[in-house]
């Protein structure tokens, strides 16, 4: 059991409470999801559970925290590590040694677990996570999903009663994320673990969750309690929940299966879709010359064929999304376009000109590239200085007015004099975007731009990219975020094992391939819907033609207890 009694916390460098009036109890053995916008205090809340905050960060703490009878503030994170296993956001930064077995043993050695027991615990933990075969593997050779499993194994080996995970799926594709979460849920049941997860991607987690903590930010107290009850009070939710809310259905559906049941009960399983955006862009493409053209591109790293004969055209005023599982070669493709990954075969042309002789720093003037971590692009003291730095690099005039106008377009005008790394993830991303947009490139390449973004930031980014597209820019986006892709693009390519295996209209491509689907597509297969708004419009029309409108009030038999009050104290 984790009890927060009137807990408020502020970092010493902040002038406001990051968490205020937290008053809830997470029951033992529950799967608790902590959600909220970027900067709302999710990571802080997690760190309060094991005492990293305030022991490691400093700050002002009020109220009482009780974790299975222990007070993390008094005990400190070292003592709490036996009870609370903490998995950080980026598994790579939390590994200390270079081999899976050594990494797990390191924890057990420090806990003075007797040597004969160490080997047994390593075996048991790896077996429970289904990664016994990785025992002797070097960590650098593992995939993203495997690394995440090893990070979980490392903390689970100490048999904690609470497992805390900070955005465990943010770097994973949908399939790996589902696999990890199912695994965590099974472990929780087997070992009676309490799971506390902070995550932005609610669609991936809600159906696992039985307790929800929502941090509204702006110094408002957290809302905590039964998942369905809290969802009713939140302004963002995954498509299935949004639809349930809009239809006024109680209890709210949390998963696609529950959503289908809801639609079936309401007689809305099949709708007529009059799409206005489904017109193929191929006819337009055929009429114009490709801005960026890849012909038979192959990239090899050592013995690994990262890309194999990829051919692709990108046109003006087009947003093309590229999807595929972790390690499929998506980032390599972007790097190859920019000249950061050498081509074994093939050619890349920009407006018909071969780029092979153009060095990367010159290509950067024509092709803007935003890598996964926007921090990597931020070097200057102020946001305005970031823009001017790019001007200097490209030998462009340092026009402060123009720079301010670019910041205005990016919604960053008020941050011009702020230190870029102090901003939120979404704001930092926009600064990095501004830094690469200075030379007005013809093509924009974005690698996982929604990573770590909350719904509001995602929607802002989506609007910005549509704006760029309307002004004629060609945009290529690598993403795992199916919902984001569907709201943005009219063309989707799928890359698997370095080969292009799908290219076309998003809905059509997704239906032909075995990859995780957007919730709307799963609810209405073969009907061409992409967003909740489209579905609502079609439902409105369907209801308008229904003889008896009281059908809308059909109740579902999913869960019967969602109307109980939240578990708040």
């Amino acid at each position: 059991m984790i009890r927060f009694s009137n807990v408020s916390f502020s970092y010493s460098f902040h002038q406001r409470w990051i968490i205020r009036g937290a008053n809830f109890t997470i029951p033992s053995g529950s799967f608790c999801l902590v959600c909220g916008a970027s900067g709302s205090g999710k990571s802080t809340l997690l760190r309060l559970i094991n005492g990293l905050v305030p022991h490691f960060s400093g700050g002002i703490l009020q109220g009482e925290i009780d974790v299975n009878g222990a007070n993390p503030v008094k005990a400190g994170p070292e003592q709490m590590s036996r009870q609370v296993g903490f998995v950080f956001q980026d598994p790579e930064t939390q590994f200390i040694l270079d081999c899976v077995e050594d990494e797990i043993a390191f924890n057990l050695e420090n806990a003075a677990i007797p040597v004969p027991e160490v080997g047994q615990r390593i075996t048991d933990t790896l077996q429970a996570l289904g990664i016994l075969h990785l025992r002797q593997r070097r960590l650098e050779s593992l995939s993203g999903g495997e690394k995440q499993k090893v990070a979980i194994a490392t903390v689970l080996s100490l048999a904690p009663s609470i497992l805390v995970l900070d955005e465990p799926t943010s770097q994973l594709d949908g399939q790996s994320a589902e696999e990890i979460l199912t695994l965590i849920q099974n472990l929780a049941r087997q070992r009676n673990l309490t799971i506390v997860v902070a995550e932005h991607r609610l669609d991936r987690l809600l159906h696992f969750t039985d307790y929800l903590v929502y941090l509204p930010g702006e110094e408002k107290p957290p809302l905590a309690g039964d998942t369905r009850y809290i969802l009713l009070q939140m302004d963002t939710a995954p498509p299935v929940v949004q639809l349930g809310k809009w239809l006024g259905v109680r209890p709210l559906p949390l998963s696609v299966a529950e959503g289908r049941q809801m639609l079936q009960n309401l007689g809305l399983a099949r709708l007529n879709h009059r799409s206005s955006t489904s017109q193929s862009t191929h006819s337009r493409e055929e009429a114009t010359q490709a801005i960026l053209s890849l012909e038979n591109v192959s990239v090899v790293f050592g013995k690994t064929q990262a890309l194999c004969g990829v051919s692709l055209q990108l046109y003006a005023s087009q947003i093309l999304c590229l999807m595929g599982s972790n390690g499929a070669g998506k980032t390599t493709l972007l790097r190859a376009i920019l000249g950061l990954a050498p081509l074994r075969e093939g050619s890349i042309r920009l407006l018909g000109e071969d780029l092979s002789t153009l060095p990367t720093w010159k290509r950067a003037r024509l092709i803007g590239y935003l890598p996964q971590d926007p921090n990597a692009l931020l070097f200057s003291e102020t946001v305005l200085e970031e823009i001017l730095l790019t001007c200097r690099n490209h030998a462009l005039p340092e026009d402060v007015e123009k720079a301010r106008s670019l910041l205005e377009r990016l919604g960053l005008a008020t941050y011009a004099d702020r230190y870029p790394r102090d901003l939120s993830v979404g704001e930092r991303q926009r600064v990095a975007l501004g830094a690469i947009l200075v030379p007005q490139p013809l093509v924009l390449l974005l690698d996982e731009p929604t990573r770590g973004l909350d719904e509001r930031a995602k929607s802002g980014l989506s609007k910005l990219l549509r704006d760029f597209r309307d002004k004629g820019m060609a945009i290529l986006i690598v993403t795992h975020d199916v919902e984001f892709m569907l709201t943005l693009t009219d063309r989707l390519c799928i890359l698997e094992n370095g080969r292009l295996v799908g290219d076309g209209m998003p809905v059509e491509v997704l239906q032909t391939l075995d990859i995780p689907q957007a919730q709307v597509l799963q609810l209405f297969p073969d009907q061409g819907f992409r967003t909740v708004e489209e579905v609502c419009q079609a439902i409105d029309e369907a209801l308008f033609h229904m003889p008896d409108r009281s059908d809308r009030q059909v109740s579902l038999v999913c869960h019967s207890d969602d109307n109980r009050p939240p578990l708040r104290e």
């Binding site: 070292e78 200390i96 990597a376 030379p439």
Partner: protein, 347 residues
């Protein structure tokens, strides 16, 4: 055995003794002839390690890179230290720090310092190459949680730093910096510093969350503090007695007292932190033999140079450059640092 690993030919303590001996050698002498001998010994061990003679196969630290510091040291010292009698030329004007006489003495002293630095670079590569991270972490004093964390950060820092440098270079290129010219290259430094600090912070947080070297209930706190004060008193007494020119025996007694007190303190405090060793490495006869060569040299240097203060390694090119003394028997002593290679070759 983890994949990609080859069995370590020697116990980590062998390499720690070897490394300590090398560091002591380069800190005790500025005789360029002896330093050349030490450099050659380290270079031979380094080459053997690079060829997989001692451990498996990473690319060796390039000799040219380690030798680069020799001319750099000479130039820097010549330009900034205007002392000596053999003047090469005079740098005119009133440029702060730089203007003045440029002497052969300063060139030789700078090059000698560069050579010492080159030895250290190669020796660290050999140590890093032969000692696994778990072995290194086990050698850290358990008593000092913060020291252990800093040590761990240091050892995981090099690969992270390499990755960071690559990332920042790429990021600069993406932003249109062609990375030619000193000013453009300097643009890498600040982001590198910031991201390195961020990584260090993250790692420290991770290790704390994982309960690294969690101490058991701290008992005898007052006793420890008292013992620490006694040790510090001995140390201070040693320095003062040296400062006042008291007999060497008295000074050494005080320093010895400080060392013993701190040693006992560390040992006792470390026993309070309980850990286990999952994959322990046995200390074999060949380890003892490999260690003995270095240990003999180490003890000899400590006894002769630090306790008896014998001046057999002393040399300075100032104020007038003279030929450094060279005793073949002393040079042969340095061959003790080759003992790991000799044992690996014959046993």
């Amino acid at each position: 055995m983890p994949e990609g690993h080859t069995p370590a030919p020697f116990h980590a303590w062998v390499w720690l003794t070897w490394m300590t001996t090398i560091l002591l050698c380069v800190s005790l002498t500025r005789n360029p002839l002896y330093l050349v001998v030490v450099w050659l010994c380290v270079a031979i061990v380094h080459a053997a390690a690079g060829m997989g003679e001692l451990a498996g196969g990473n690319a060796p630290f390039p000799f040219w890179l380690s030798l680069m510091v020799v001319p750099l040291g000479a130039i820097f010292n010549a330009l900034t230290v205007h002392v000596g009698e053999r003047v090469i030329f005079v740098l005119p004007g009133e440029i702060p720090l730089l203007s003045g006489i440029i002497t052969w003495e300063a060139v030789v002293y700078g090059a000698t310092n560069g050579l010492a630095l080159s030895v250290i670079l190669l020796a660290f590569w050999v140590f890093n190459h032969n000692v696994s991270i778990p072995s290194f972490l086990r050698m850290l004093p358990r008593a000092f949680h913060s020291v252990a964390i800093v040590g761990s950060i240091a050892i995981t820092f090099v690969p992270l730093l390499q990755r960071e440098v690559r990332q920042i270079q790429e990021a600069q290129i993406i932003r249109g910096n062609n990375l030619t010219g000193l000013r453009n290259k300097l643009a890498l430094l600040l982001p590198l510093l910031v991201s390195s600090l961020e990584h260090a912070f993250q790692l420290a947080e991770v290790m704390t969350a994982r309960g690294f070297l969690r101490s058991s209930a701290s008992s005898h706190q007052m006793l420890w503090r008292g013992a620490f004060l006694v040790g510090f008193g001995f140390l201070l007494g040693g320095w003062l007695s040296r400062f006042w020119g008291l007999p060497v025996l008295a000074t050494n007694f005080l320093f010895g007292g400080a060392m013993t007190t701190f040693g006992v303190l560390i040992y006792t405090a470390s026993r309070q932190v309980r850990t286990t060793v999952y994959r322990s490495t046995a200390f074999r006869l060949r380890d003892a033999l490999a260690m003995s060569g270095c240990a003999f040299l180490l003890i000899f240097l400590i006894f002769q140079s630090l306790i008896l203060e014998a001046p057999f390694l002393a040399y300075t090119p100032y104020p007038v450059l003279t030929l450094p003394p060279f005793d073949p028997r002393v040079a042969c002593l340095f061959l003790g640092t080759l003992s790991p290679l000799l044992v690996a070759a014959f046993l």
